[in-house]
Amino acid sequence: MLRFLISRVIQGIAVILGVLCITFLLLKQAPGGPFQGERDVPEHIRRQQAAMYGLDKPLPVQLLNHIVNFATFQFPPSPKTPGRGVEEIIAQGFPVSAQVGLAALCIALAIGIPTGALAALRPNSLEDRASTVAATLGICTPSLVLGPVIALVFGLKLRWFNASGWYDADDWVLPAVTLGIIYSAYIARLTRGGLRETLAQEFIRTARAKGASEAAVVFRHAFKLACLPVLNFLGPAAAGLMTGSIVIESVFQLPGLGQHFVGAAVNRNYELAMATAAFYALLIVAFNLLVDVVQALLNPRIGFKEDS
């Protein structure tokens, strides 16, 4: 167990380093730089600006500086956001994204798992058909259509919530519901598939044969295994939700992290672009590790293998 954790943490650090390097190299491929503006700046001033932010050094040195900054959490002022460090920008955006993402995740699970389970327990029944159709429709509903519709109906027409912005304590509701509905469709599908497959296995027949009640069969025996596909999906999904859905944050005008994924790259804000990418990678690695641990606890056949 401990060895498993240590090896996975080392792998995770390697992944984050890899993400940092790729982002840096791609950013440097992009034409232009942080100082490019409407007006041409004299050559000597541009050189001075570059020197101030260490942009005159050779690329490997710059990359190394960035990595050291990330490792020590000491971020120098960024030329694009003077006076605001990268850590401050993330510390302001993340709580917004995390609150919306966490609520969306809870909504998705609360809708998705019961719907999928109901469908799996009564194969080919009306409930099964209805939930499968609903899940398929949900998967085909892009957030860029559902988001504006929900904002229009509940924000502008019914006026239950603000249609956009982040002013009142309940401003998380509409974006979270939008995301939750979309993710619940995937979760319902995975739950149905997983539970149906599990219920067809031999050990379920054994459990039934020894006289276990239907509830005990489903909840004590089948559910643990049936959760595995959902769990696998939840790792990356949770990381994506926490770092902000770019579309949803743009539809509802939320000051979350999502906006920086686009803005930083377009504005050549190297430090912030790398920081958001690395932060996302960190969450992915952490959630995947969490998923692996939970999986190992649920299914002894998977266990704590060091390579997987």
Binding site: Q11, A14, V15, I16, G18, V19, I22, T23, L26, L27, Q29, A30, P31, T136, L137, I139, C140, T141, P142, L144, V145, G147, P148, V149, L152, L156, P236, T243, I246, V247, S250, V251, F261, V262, A265, V266, A273, T276, A277, Y280, A281, I284, V285
Partner: protein, 284 residues
């Protein structure tokens, strides 16, 4: 193969068309493609023709799906935009399939340390915020139509590579491959003759489910202003324009949104049908 037995592909096709839902989805998709390809030719309007007397009119006799605030016929714009969206979907999936299948085949066949290294690279790319990756590619290459689907394809190949590699690993242990190797077949012969045909099933299943994903990604990029640039329109651009003026002109969101969702629905249903037809394990 020559005797009375139908080929596996013919069998799969029969299983595919046995499902009424799949056939309905294929007809829907066929009509959609036909409408997008041929429709603009029969339309009396061009996609960018402005008629300033008919700004933002609701759907009616002369403009079936209404006009936008510049007086452009929405139906023509939707069909025209559909060409771009469908083209991006197919081409980006093609790029993803070529990269993913090639990568997965080589990794799976090479085995050992090459395989471990190649798959570690895939792991790293998986942890990459894909939207940042696409945005960076768009920023580097500029907002050119051709490069958008290359960028999207370059992101979507990862799962394909994993699927193919997994398939190759299990095929490699089978006797007929070992027999081929014992008979002196080289690396490339085993790869092309024995592996490639056998990984096509999972690849087709996965590719059919990648097309809607890719179209969604293109729409997202266009929605954020990083994809197709106005006045050209894809469904993503039209949906984003519709979302902006939806409170006053709801038909501007309903039209493109409905076309987009129907296409995604058809593609997803076909993908499900293909999975049931090609993967005997999942069928009942």
């Amino acid at each position: 193969m020559s005797g009375g037995h139908p080929s596996p592909w013919r069998l799969a096709w029969r299983r595919l068309v046995r499902s009424r839902i799949t056939v309905a989805a294929m007809i829907l998709l066929g009509l959609m493609v036909l409408a997008c390809v041929a429709g603009p030719w029969f339309s009396p309007y061009g996609p960018n023709d402005q008629n300033l007397d008919l700004r933002a009119t609701a759907p009616g006799v002369s403009h079936w799906l209404g006009t936008d605030p510049l007086g452009r016929d929405l139906a023509t714009r939707i069909l025209h935009g559909g060409r771009i969206s469908l083209l991006v979907g197919v081409l980006a999936t093609g790029v993803a399939a070529v990269i993913g299948v090639g990568y997965g085949l080589v990794a799976g066949l090479a085995g050992r340390r090459t395989d471990a290294l190649m798959m570690r690279i895939v792991d790293v790319l998986y942890a990459f915020p894909f939207i940042t990756f696409v945005i960076l590619l768009v920023v580097i290459f500029g907002r050119q139509f051709v490069l958008i689907f290359v960028a999207i394809g370059a992101v979507e190949w990862l799962t394909m590579a994993r699927v193919v590699r997994g398939q190759v690993l299990s095929l490699k242990k089978l006797e007929y491959v070992q027999a081929a190797r014992a008979a002196g077949a080289g690396f490339s012969r085993i790869l092309l003759r024995h592996m490639l045909p056998n990984v096509m099933g999972p690849v087709i299943i996965y590719a059919s489910l990648t097309v809607p994903g890719v179209m969604l990604l293109e729409a997202t990029l266009s929605f954020l202003g990083l994809g197709i640039q106005p006045p050209d329109a894809s469904w993503g651009v039209l949906i984003s324009e519709g979302a902006a003026s939806m409170a006053v002109h709801p038909w501007m969101l309903i039209g493109p949104g409905a076309f987009f969702m129907l296409t995604l629905l058809a593609l997803n249903l076909i993908g499900d049908g293909l999975r049931d037809a090609l993967d005997p394990k999942s069928g009942d």
